[in-house]
């Protein structure tokens, strides 16, 4: 483990400690409800960071799995006794749907740009479909799909065996942050395995990986399915923080995830999570400014769109890699002067890790 990795884990641990210990003791309910929404979105950002940043799969419709899991959870939760079982079914459904879609795309050997468009289209069609399910006939068991309004009666998770005592918002918050941390660790671990290395190799050069004997389609399908499952976890938590509605599939949601990943830094896991928290905070703040007529110009869509365009045109790397590169340059500079000093004393210069 390099120094940089250790520092990274230390920072992640500190952030998790802050979010799990310091924030709940402060005890403001709105902060925590917002916190669980942010955390579930951050999990969605993490799933895109995984499949786009590490596997090079351009999924522009990652919110499809997010929304699908949310809806499956709500429907299953309203029909079944046990909400934890519903959550498991929901994540499995998101993963299964990702696997099915991935099969068509990877075995069809669709190029990345087309792939982006197809995934986005899938998400938008789900949006259209759910949007029109307002009528009585769109009821699955005890769960009306509710069309544009979503399902306000989305059940809240309850501990297994105690279906009558659903978690409080504070507990959902802890659960969401814990899940975010768990997903981060899973992503990190997945990338450290042989499978993860093969996935990165395929991103770097698919033809070469194939010539080395890897069936790239299987690896891509595997990582895409994992990404779908993680997005599904985010969707279930979002359903618990707010409730499910067609907006989970919308063009805006899909766009936002991409903006978080781009702004935070493609090819990192922590970057997109940071990007998500920063930009969510920004758009919440912009939304709260709505009072004055002069501020109406700062429509969240407008601001996000401009941020995305400028990031693509200017800040190619994203925040985290830019900050890391800057830090490393400063470190190298400091070391360089120290190294020279040591060399003058006849000592070998410090070896760079």
């Amino acid at each position: 483990m390099t120094l940089r990795d250790a520092l990274g884990w230390l920072l992640v641990g500190a952030a998790a400690l802050y979010a799990l210990v310091a924030v709940p003791t402060g005890g403001e309910l709105t902060t925590m409800i917002n916190g669980s929404i942010y955390a579930s979105y951050a999990i969605l950002a993490l799933s895109l960071a995984l499949i786009w940043g590490y596997a090079g799969i351009l999924s522009f419709g990652q919110a499809a799995f997010f929304g699908l899991a949310g809806y499956v959870y709500a429907v299953a939760g309203l029909n079944l006794e046990s909400t934890p079982l519903a959550a498991v079914i929901a994540v499995a459904a998101a993963a299964g749907f990702a696997a099915l879609l991935g099969y068509f795309m990877f075995w069809g050997r669709i190029s990345d740009v087309y792939l982006g468009v197809i995934t986005l289209t899938v998400s938008l069609i789900l949006y259209r479909f759910i949007n029109q399910t307002a009528g009585e006939e769109w009821t699955i068991g005890a769960a009306p799909l509710g069309g544009f309004n979503g399902i306000p009666s989305t059940p809240i998770l309850a501990p297994p065996g105690h279906p009558d005592e659903p978690f409080l918002p504070e507990q959902i918050y802890v659960l969401a942050v814990g899940a975010l941390l768990a997903c981060y660790v899973i992503c990190k671990l997945a990338m450290a395995t042989r499978f993860g290395r093969a996935v990165v190799a395929i991103r770097e050069n698919e033809g070469r990986a194939e010539l080395l004997g890897y069936d790239t389609r299987r690896y891509k399908l595997g990582i895409f399915t994992l990404g779908g499952a993680i997005a599904g976890v985010g969707g279930v938590l979002f359903a618990n923080s707010v409730f499910v509605s067609p907006n989970m599939f919308s063009l805006q949601t899909n766009g936002q995830v991409i903006i978080w990943v781009i702004v935070g830094g493609l090819g990192t896991f922590a970057g997109p999570v940071i990007g998500c928290f920063l930009l969510m905070a920004l758009s919440t703040w912009l939304g709260s400014l709505d009072a004055g007529p002069g501020f109406a110009v700062l429509d969240p869509n407008l601001v996000m769109g401009v941020v995305l365009t400028l990031c693509v045109l200017g800040l190619r790397q994203g925040l985290l890699p830019t900050a890391l590169a800057l830090g490393e340059r400063l470190l190298a500079k400091a070391r360089g002067t120290r190294g020279r000093g040591a060399a003058e004393l006849g000592q070998p210069a410090e070896e760079r890790p």
């Binding site: 075995w107 479909f129 869509n301 996000m304 365009t309």
Partner: protein, 288 residues
């Protein structure tokens, strides 16, 4: 008999509608290999341009056929200058940047017009066919689409401008060596695509109404049509519209219109599994 006729006309209208909303995207994608994520917003702006100029007292037909394409063409020119030009050859970056533009345009229009649906009442009334009726305006839209594609074919195949455009797309360096300015050709193509999208958006506006977020309704269908069509601009868009439009109509007919759209998408995903390069990647390969 009347019923059969009305079903056929409905099918033609659906196909034409699909071809119309995809036309501008097909021009920009087919010629420049740029996936313009702001396409839906170009359609939306076309609708608003027609609406505003009509409300300001302009004749409806002038608003649709002149004001909308000119306005959106100008907006396209500005975008090309500010964003697209910096990103030529970087397909994914262009996609992302135009997505940003798309969100920003939705934001701007929401600020100006508010987040609500406005409408233009469809002109012309309807024609009775036996016991049924079909909107005359919708038939006119189909006719305009046919003319648009015919015009596109003539321009590309029979005029010097079309020849230069095709040449610059095929081999940029060679065209430049022969005295063509590729940057200008690209800019013109983008503006043309934007103007066509503006016209399409204005033509559809009386049927569907306009709202700031209406672009997302079109964009999925337009993309899937263009990509299923493959590289040939006109033949691709037309053949994909015909195929997907038929699937859409059939399923809308048996089930509901929205399930028709779901079937359209499912058909496109299946199609791309079999023909990853689209219809014109396999058939009609030498066509435009």
């Amino acid at each position: 008999m009347d019923y059969a006729l009305i079903v056929i006309l409905q099918l033609v209208v659906t196909i034409a509608n699909l071809a119309l909303i995809s036309a501008g995207l097909a021009v920009i994608f087919g010629m420049m290999r740029i996936i313009n994520m702001a396409h839906g917003e170009f359609l939306m702006l076309g609708g608003y341009a027609a609406l505003v100029s009509h409300q300001a007292g302009l004749n409806l037909w002038l608003a649709i056929f002149v004001a909308a394409p000119v306005t959106v063409g100008l907006i396209g020119a500005v975008l090309e200058r500010l964003v697209i030009r910096r990103l030529y050859g970087r397909m994914i970056d262009t996609m992302l940047a135009t997505w940003g533009v798309s969100l920003a345009l939705v934001g701007v229009v929401t600020v100006i017009f508010g987040n609500r649906v406005s409408g233009i009442s469809p002109p012309l009334g309807s024609v009775p066919i036996g016991g049924y009726a079909i909107g005359l305006y919708e038939l006119l839209t189909a006719g305009v689409t046919a003319l648009l594609f015919l015009g596109g074919w003539i321009v590309l195949r029979r005029t010097p401008v079309g020849l230069i455009a095709r040449g610059a797309m095929q081999n940029r360096e060679m065209a430049a060596a022969l005295g063509v300015d590729p940057a200008r050709v690209y800019a013109t193509t983008f503006v043309t695509g934007a103007a066509i999208s503006g016209l399409a958006g204005a033509l559809i506006a009386p049927i569907t109404g306009v709202a700031p977020s209406i672009g997302s309704v079109y964009i999925a269908k337009a993309f899937i049509t263009v990509i299923s069509g493959g590289t040939a601009i006109l033949t691709g868009a037309l053949s994909a519209s015909a195929l997907l439009g038929s699937v859409n109509t059939a399923f809308s007919f048996v089930m509901t219109p929205v399930l028709g759209e779901v079937a359209l998408l499912a058909a496109a995903v299946l199609l791309l599994r079999v023909l990853p390069r689209g219809i014109t990647g396999r058939f009609f390969r030498r066509s435009l």
